[in-house]
Point group: C2
Chain length 131, copies 2
DNA sequence: TTGAAAATGTTATATTATAACACTGTTACA
DNA sequence: TGTAACAGTGTTATAATATAACATTTTCAA
């Protein structure tokens, strides 16, 4: 079963709270510096919380940036179909929530014999402001 | 203009040669270790070659693995539309060459105002052998 | 109430990537 | 023909990202 927020551990809550307030992708060490006042002193504490939050879909990792962002899809319980829009100008990252896109990709098959169960898509470009 | 292979510099050729022979994604430091006999002694030499090779589309970076693989699409000159299939079992990575998929994604638009000019897609699952 | 699983705290270290600077070779073109 | 611009090289050092390993504590269902 998917874990609910109230089941999160202390460190997991602290890390998730901070990421959710940020509204933008955060680096692990930036999270670490900012939660040190809450008692998380060393990298493994942050990385462990992040690993778990990613696993349960509360947080996504933006692979091209090594950064972590809260999931905007409130009922997202598992992170097996993610798509992001990344502005090369202002670095703004937005989670794409597009049913047609996710349906298309979730149903994607080719003749390689691979059985796909997860994907991550990152689009790059320029947003309105940066054009 | 896209750079042709014969225009590659010495270090770029050495690194590309090694990646092409591998037929699988390689880590930067594994490349470094293996090209030391060819005279590339320090990380920046490898990373600079990789940066350039990625820029001109000869090499792609598998972001979820921090690894580099030769482009299989022989006429690929710029790396703005990439899709990979990654087996979670044996770690085999294959570049997906599917015109319908690339057409769909290259033409993707949403109402965010973003103008997309590049994407990277990574599919995960299990290959025939690993199922 | 106890024991297995999950989480925590901690130190150290591994892995990935870039900064900075001096130098070399090539090319264009005034 | 000299010189400026530029891409590439070599090198040392260090920054940034992530995990190993191990001891301890908490949780919670059997």
């Amino acid at each position: 079963m998917a874990q609910k927020q109230e089941n999160l551990s202390k460190n997991q809550k602290i890390v998730l709270d901070f990421i959710e307030k940020a509204n933008q992708p955060l680096k692990a060490y930036s999270i670490l510096f900012n939660v040190q006042k809450k008692g998380l002193k060393a990298p493994p504490q942050v990385y462990r919380a992040l690993d778990r939050l990613v696993e349960i879909g509360k947080v996504h990792k933006i692979e091209s940036k090594n950064a972590f962002v809260a999931c905007k899809n409130s009922n997202c319980t598992i992170s097996n179909a993610t798509a992001f829009s990344i502005c090369d100008g202002c670095e703004k990252v937005t989670e794409i929530s597009n049913p047609k896109l996710s349906k298309y990709l979730s149903g994607f098959q080719d003749n390689s014999g691979m059985k796909y169960n997860k994907y991550n898509l990152e689009f790059f470009g320029l947003c309105k402001k940066c054009r």
